[in-house]
Symmetry: C2
Subunit: 456 residues, 2 copies
């Protein structure tokens, strides 16, 4: 195993990277470059691969020792992982996967060609094969997909002395072993024995007397997000995963949970900007296009609808061209205000903080806030409009349109997540597109409609 760096700083990582780049620039030193890579932690090699353009990345990848390829692939982002897997043949992929544990192979499997997965399954010893099949059977986003099989189990009726002897025989404990899992003959979970408790307790006592009898456990079908909240809420390091009969089948560790949280947060951030997934910065143009086109297409449709709303008022704009300059302000502020409301509500919904009895309270509050904003910003814009165009009526229409658009925005900002949650959809996905579509078309309609009514 490669060693942990003793002190991490982003600068250290960048130093490694620069050292590799220097070697690459001088070209004829594969042995020296390999010597640079070998002592690095897999995560640090992954960092270097992520930061190199495709060509250099492949040069480095070919110097990585075969037995380390699996663990490094695990540390890579999906996009970069795919770029490397695409260059490997089946034999190399099977060899890389075989160095991993069942739960790790399952993490890699979605990116591997089907026949490679089958080859790997065939090549595994019987026991591992069963675990891998189990791991592959859980959907992404469930506890089952995050769990590993490195749990150490003990029986209730052995002494701590015997348990300690058993641990010594193992030589090294799996990472994140902060507790042993106590099971009966049928593998049913009876409790957990934290190492800290094992160490401070009298060795003559039995496991059953010292264990925590009722420990928090998860089912493999539980949403990963619920488990993540539990780990955070109760500061867990590991937790048992049990099936419907209470039989221990694996464990969940804090590092798997932390990876999940990071990934989720990245996904949200990317989705909000209209990227379907993490992108390799150095991806070919075509890959990036595939990652981004869907959102642009949706946006084109909503923009086109807004454009048709304006088109319906072309007669009014022809007679009062100032409307064309003023209308984007109304729609823009409406969109921003609606996004504020919807973001807050979607977050509160995700944290389970909004009870059904309080929706009317929420609507009332958001409409109150919209009124305050409408009077304030609408009034300000009305005055500015009057100063610019010298028309009190136009200023009044501007102020009123602003107020109504903000009310629309906050109403929709509550209604959209409410309805989506009611319909069993995830309120987060695409909320921002929906609200912006409403406020754009709505804002144009309100402003141009009022202008047509009162000014022409």
């Amino acid at each position: 195993m490669s060693e942990l760096p003793t002190r991490l700083e982003v600068e250290d990582l960048q130093q490694n990277l620069r050292a590799v780049q220097d070697r690459l620039a001088r070209k004829h030193e594969p042995a020296a470059l390999r010597a640079e890579l070998d002592p690095l932690h897999p995560a640090d090699v992954a960092y270097i691969l992520e930061a190199l353009p495709l060509e250099e990345r492949l040069l480095v990848w070919n110097l990585v020792k075969t037995e380390r390829e699996g663990e490094i692939l695990l540390e890579l982002s999906e996009a970069v992982r795919e770029s490397l897997i695409a260059t490997m043949d089946s034999k190399e992929l099977v060899a890389a996967a075989e160095t991993l544990e069942a739960d790790e192979i399952a993490d890699l499997a979605p990116d591997l060609p089907e026949e490679v997965v089958q080859d790997v399954i065939r090549a595994l010893p019987q026991e591992e094969r069963v675990l891998l099949r189990a791991a592959l059977s859980y959907a992404e986003g469930t506890v089952g997909a995050l769990m590993d099989f490195d749990q150490i189990t003990v029986r209730e009726d052995v002494t701590l002395e015997a348990a300690t002897r058993y641990l010594r025989a193992l030589d090294e404990l799996p990472a994140h072993t902060d507790q042993l899992f106590v099971v009966d003959r049928e593998q049913r979970l009876k409790g957990t024995l934290p190492l800290a408790r094992l160490i401070v307790s009298d060795l003559d006592r039995e496991v059953g007397q010292v264990m925590v009898p009722e420990s928090m456990k998860f089912h493999p079908e539980d949403p990963a997000e619920d488990a993540a909240q539990a780990f955070e809420r109760y500061d867990l390091v590991s937790a048992p995963v049990a099936d419907e009969f209470g039989r221990l089948i694996g464990r969940l560790t804090v590092n798997a949970v932390m990876d999940h949280i990071r990934e989720k947060s990245a996904e949200t951030q990317l989705a909000e900007a209209g990227l379907s997934k993490e992108e390799d910065v150095f991806a070919p143009v075509w890959n990036s296009f595939k990652n981004r086109w869907a959102w642009l297409a949706v946006n084109l449709v909503t923009a086109f609808i807004a454009s048709r709303v304006i088109g319906a008022f072309e007669g009014s704009i022809e007679r009062l061209v100032a409307l064309a300059a003023l209308m984007p302000i109304v729609a823009g502020i409406g969109g921003n205000s609606g996004n504020q409301t919807i973001t807050m509500i979607v977050r509160a919904l995700a944290l389970g903080q909004i009870q059904s009895s309080y929706w009317t309270k929420l609507v009332a509050k958001e409409l109150g806030l919209a009124t305050l904003n409408g009077v304030l910003w609408g009034g300000l814009l009305g005055v500015v409009t009057y100063i610019l165009y010298g028309s009190v009526a136009l200023g009044g229409v501007m102020a009123l349109a602003m107020l109504l658009t903000l009310l629309l925005a906050s109403g929709m900002g509550v209604a959209i997540p409410y309805l989506r949650a009611r319909l069993g959809q995830d309120p987060a996905v695409g909320s921002s597109v929906l609200i912006t579509a409403c406020t754009d078309s709505g804002g144009f309609f309100i402003f141009l409609g009022l202008a047509t009514l009162f000014l022409l």
Copy 2:
């Protein structure tokens, strides 16, 4: 200490909440309500408080036992914490804070009145006071602000037997104790002794022979984000924090790091929607207004600038009113495409993945993608425009404006984070506002300018 629930599901939390709400509805049962609250984990009481409107929240808060108030305040979001602290007098606050450890008091301190903090400092025993002063001295976002002081230290030259006896005398180990820290007489860190290694090793050996001599350590001034990446990268549970002389001053645990990650991710999400911080869903209108006005004001300014760009072309719009309907499409798609580019680049920058030598490669790629998008979507819109308005020239202007705006968007999408990183600013903050401002004004200018040149 209250017990961990044995099985967490969001539904369980909501059951607790409903039980409390039922009691509240029946009003005259404070004792029963208290009985409902007492067995709950502090994080679960916090969950209930977050989900209740202000009035009900205060009713429940007043039933919480004084000695639990501190730990519950710690679990609350800042906004809700403030709403409760505002109702407590100094004596209550001091009593609540005194139940906490030094690092926890430091977490709470920014929300407490200055005189309460002083009172708490005075009331603490000498040793704790020193720790609290130290904890208070580290800026938010540093390792120092996240660390705690629950580390257990041992000397190199004692036997594992003696170390184990010492641990037994402690009765219970602090949460997240996965390793002991090995220090010399001057508290200089010599290594770490993982509990897992202590358990599996021969008790006659000395700590120095078994310990991990070079363990990863942090400085209190290190950015918390670097530590978070290290915890994730190397799957740590705890790590020592040492001063410039290598003396151990505290430790960082995975739960503090996980809280930090969650908080950061929430902040990003909120900032992108223009909320300055997490909002109490039931906050009074005025509090929400303060949280949201700044972004709306900025947006008003950028929208106003865009409006003046349009104003400069009023003559053109008057002669060809179709321009008014078409221009928001160009600006809108430009904004979306720019946001995609900037989000990807800001993320890659934060992960340290972009080396200075690769910026030109990046620009070339993004411009290539913009050209592809411009030809495709611009061509499509050009055709649609021709169908709608029957003018080949107008369709051509639309297509060309689209292409140029997308090139502008991707150029700015790379340039803005590049320049901000160069100037030592955080490229993430407000990037979305900046790019949208550029693409709005720029898109209107390009489209209306081309139309004026070629059509009129």
